[in-house]
């Protein structure tokens, strides 16, 4: 099974993510809480992160939370990205406010 390392440089947490698994799902299944968990479906914006380096594929995400500009900046929803290389991510403390 291919797995990629995800490093959250905001919190210092590191966890592995299997191929085809979303970053949020990998985080939850390893028992970490470093990204807020909402709907897990790309709809609520709760799990917003910024990818600093690495590459990934995206599932469908709400345009309200992930407009094209955000996508270009690597600002994506952790429940809807699937790493294809090791990732370094940041999660902003105001991430939860994305839903307000």
């Amino acid at each position: 099974m291919v797995a990629y390392q995800v490093y959250n440089r905001t919190t210092g947490d590191r966890f592995s993510c299997e191929e085809g698994q979303s970053v949020l799902k990998a985080m939850e299944s390893k028992g970490y809480k470093c990204v807020p968990v909402g709907c897990r479906g790309g709809g609520c914006g709760f799990c917003m992160i910024k990818v600093i380096s690495g590459s990934y594929e995206c599932g469908k995400m709400s345009k309200r939370h992930c407009p094209p500009e955000a996508l270009e900046n690597g600002e994506v929803l952790a429940c809807r990205i699937y790493p294809t290389k090791d990732l370094v991510i940041e999660c902003h403390s105001e991430a939860g406010n994305a839903a307000d």
Partner: protein
Amino acid sequence: MRKGVMRPGHVQVRVLDIDEAVQHYTELLGMIETDRDDQGRVYLKAWTEVDKFSLVLREADEPGCDFMGFKVLDEAALNQLEKDLVAHGLEVEQLPEGELKDCGRRIRFTVASGHAFELYADKTYTGKWGVSDVNPEAWPRGLKGMKAVRFDHCLFYGPNLAAVYDVFVNVLGFHLAEQVIDPEGTRIAQFLTASMKEHDIAFIHSDKPGQFHHASFFLETWEDVLRAADLISMTDTSIDIGPTRHGLTHGKTIYFFDPSGNRNEVFCGGDYTYPDHKPITWKAEDLGKAIFYHDRVLNERFLTVLT
């Protein structure tokens, strides 16, 4: 005082992927697909419902709720309610017969919380699914998943609850079954009904308008709610909270999410109300118990995760 609004009739929900959504609402909730239209919308119903559909799914690039519709007694009631809404100062939009397939003309208006509602008098009567109108069997074979009984209510988050109360109670003839009051005496949640059910629609205060908290579907028993929880695990569906009990309405419930992040509820039980019942009041200080009767604490997600 009743003004001819009978019941929740339909809700149109936006989804990111129509195929995944149809799979969720049919295979997991056990609703029945009844039609599709040339806009690509999919129409579904729960098995005990007598009209052709109660849930309309529309693919869009952000999830949420387009509108919720209530069925009224007849065309005369619809005409009167339309006049009353206009007299109340609301803008009323006309949707012609057939705009939703097999549904009569609808009127649509947006209340001060930023949510759109509709009234209509006619929809094609298809009868309960899988059982006859004469000597009906107890239930139909071939139901899937949670075997949802009916679309029951929605909960919306938004501002200006007092103005919304005014429309629902004074114009549409709902009554207030339950409320949450903060220490200053402001109503921060209102559970409104046009029937004997403890809520046909509910609102919770939030500064941001137009937010969708959940669409809820009725199940018969607590055993059914536990079975729903089993199915949520079996299908690795995103769970929110439960099985548990609400303080508000005392319904027994579980919350989960559809594949686009819209929250669903299935529940059983719940109190009853008549128009002479005084509203039940919950104190905002005890909101944890009001919402989750067992945990007695709110989870952050319930208050902030919305579409």
